[in-house]
Amino acid sequence: MKSDVVPKPAAVSIRGVDKKFGNGFHALDKISLDIADGQFLSVVGPSGCGKSTLLQIVAGLVPASGGKVLLDGHPVVGPQPHEVAVVFQDALLLPWKTTLQNVEFPLDLQGVPAAERRAKSLEMLDLVGLSAFADAYPQQLSGGMRQRVSIARGLAQDPRIILMDEPFGALDEQTRIRMGQELLRIWERSRKTVLFITHSLAEAIFLSDVVVVMGRNPGRILERMEVPLPRPRSSDVMGSDVFGQMRNRLWHLLNDEIDRTDQAAPEL
């Protein structure tokens, strides 16, 4: 392992990022946020707070109107498939390709030799627990399994940073909790830097080192909270006092914000 004698620059450094859309909507108001190397950081916030837009700016998929994003000190000017993988809310698998071919696909596009990308992809499929389904087609898999394939596809790119945009948002509650545990297990073995967007407060606390709460109109950071729960974590921590207190605090923060802007409540 690397020693931490010299403080490393943040893996992701968001500096005064501002986003206004063409229709005048002020999505993000001078957001500044650092994510340390190997850190798991979640962003929660009500619908329309711009958390998804923020992720897409970090991914280089959407340009910021002002400010900048630095990855290890280098400004983001576009997608960086070698540095950053994005996992979207929908698995977005290619239905004519098998599970394995889907995981290999980004490497295939990059011209990685067949044997090498195959080995890498099988390793990642093993990590997400889907080796047995390497030759299955996406429509033969459940929603949770598809999302795991999409995570394996992201990991196979061997990025240092993974951006996850409500990856479990389309799954049912049981699957969602299980996927959270699964993600934690995968993350503890790969130790990537993760920026995770979610609606679910429990999910955010359970997974993260740091939870950032955003408000809307315009989108801005309300609070940044360290999660004091020790790792490795099991689902038992969800019953602990610390967990409950954190969730209450997040809930009140969001509730006040929602009362202020008066719209739909986040799910707990």
């Binding site: 979207f88 980004p106 790119q157």
Partner: protein
Amino acid sequence: MTRSFLIKTAATIVFLGVWEGICRAGWVNPIILAPPSAIVAALYSSGWQFLDAFQLTILCIVFAAALAWLIGIGFGLLVGLSPLGYGIFSPLLTGVFAIPLITLYPLFLVWFGIGPGSKIAFAVLSGSIPIALNTMDGVRLIDRGYIKLARSIGASPLQAYLRIYFPLSLPAILSGLRIGTSLVVISVVVCEMLASVNGLGFWISYNRTLFNTGHVYLGITLAMACVMLVNFGLGHIERRYAALGEARPAKAARV
């Protein structure tokens, strides 16, 4: 052998039998309707001379179909992803498609001459429009997430179009290809009938003036066989592809 195959075969035999019977009974003038046996007889009595005509027509069809596929799919892919391009070209092409394009054929004769050039050019025009329209609709309905995915995994524009957007919209493209390719076949034959000195259409037309009704029906049968072959082949691919299931846009069947 499946039950449905047996039923289809039986229906075909009955149809041909009734047709033959009506002609043999002398209920219709043989100049108007030739019996199936006369069509078979025409194969021999023409001394296989129709093969020359058929060969030219097939060449024109293959050439025109290849161009219509290339132009239709290429144009549709490029235009369909851009809301502006779609907004401009969708109503425009739909409008042009509604015109009986054959009225333009005299112009094509002036531009490209009486030879195969004018047939191919006209067939490409009439065939590529429905292909372009269906491709545009198919591409437009792709989940926008795939566009973000393509960019985030570093796909070049060419890779994104060929390896992601094209296969994702293939169901819609295939139904466009069926319509477009059938139109190519029809256009080539009809143009040959209108103004030509060779080809299957010319052969049909020529024999009609000689009251060789058996020959005329033979020509029609050959033209029909071309369309059926196209439909069978593309339909087969379409079914195989549809078996791959969901997670793709619904088939856009508008033309």
